[in-house]
Assembly symmetry: C2
Homo-oligomer: 136 residues x 2
Amino acid sequence: MGEYVLRSIGAVESPLTDPSEAPRQGDEGAPDAWLVFEPAVREGLRDLGPGTEVLLFTWLDRADRDVLTVHPRGDVTRPESGVFSTRSPHRPNPVGLHRIQIVAVDGLRMRVRDLEALDGTPIVDIKPVLEPISDR
Amino acid sequence: MGEYVLRSIGAVESPLTDPSEAPRQGDEGAPDAWLVFEPAVREGLRDLGPGTEVLLFTWLDRADRDVLTVHPRGDVTRPESGVFSTRSPHRPNPVGLHRIQIVAVDGLRMRVRDLEALDGTPIVDIKPVLEPISDR
């Protein structure tokens, strides 16, 4: 298997610190949070402004990478599923995907809505939500 | 900046070998392709069957990681944008995100529709498309 090195481009600042208290998805009662970026990627961020909806990619650094099956949503009354059919953070490569809205930008800090990632979670990428083909 | 190691869980088999000929997104005329997985992750795949729509995460191993601004869609008549406002493969962490449909499964091989990734691209994760909250 090949190995590739992700380098964090920033980190999440959030009131969420306990994995057992974090919502499972951002639209299930997650708080606002700050994204704090490294100065090295400043130019890449220059077109992101308030109101923009983006896909945030994180590295879920507290996940267990040896897990291949889980009870969906941690509910032991549900039969186990293969992790690639779930959004469990526990998986061989724990890349987090979060659809969020930017509400404010202050230099290298961005305020965002509805992010379920824990405080200190490394950020690895941001991509735009894709528009319909006609608008690309 | 923190560093994290991605380990490929498989690779793409595709007729696409030349970056200049690959479509920019999967819904812009991309061919069918095979995903070929490592035996080590077999259990994680067990609930993925034909007809399932999933998000495929790849590592775009031919990307330039030092790029922070690009002309959108490679069109030099358009002004440069920060890479985090584009889907350019060239970015600090070239994680590819592809929404695809599984059309057949044969052991560790999956036939998929509309994948613009090049032949040999490493696979790092698969996640389900999220259902509405009421169905989770």
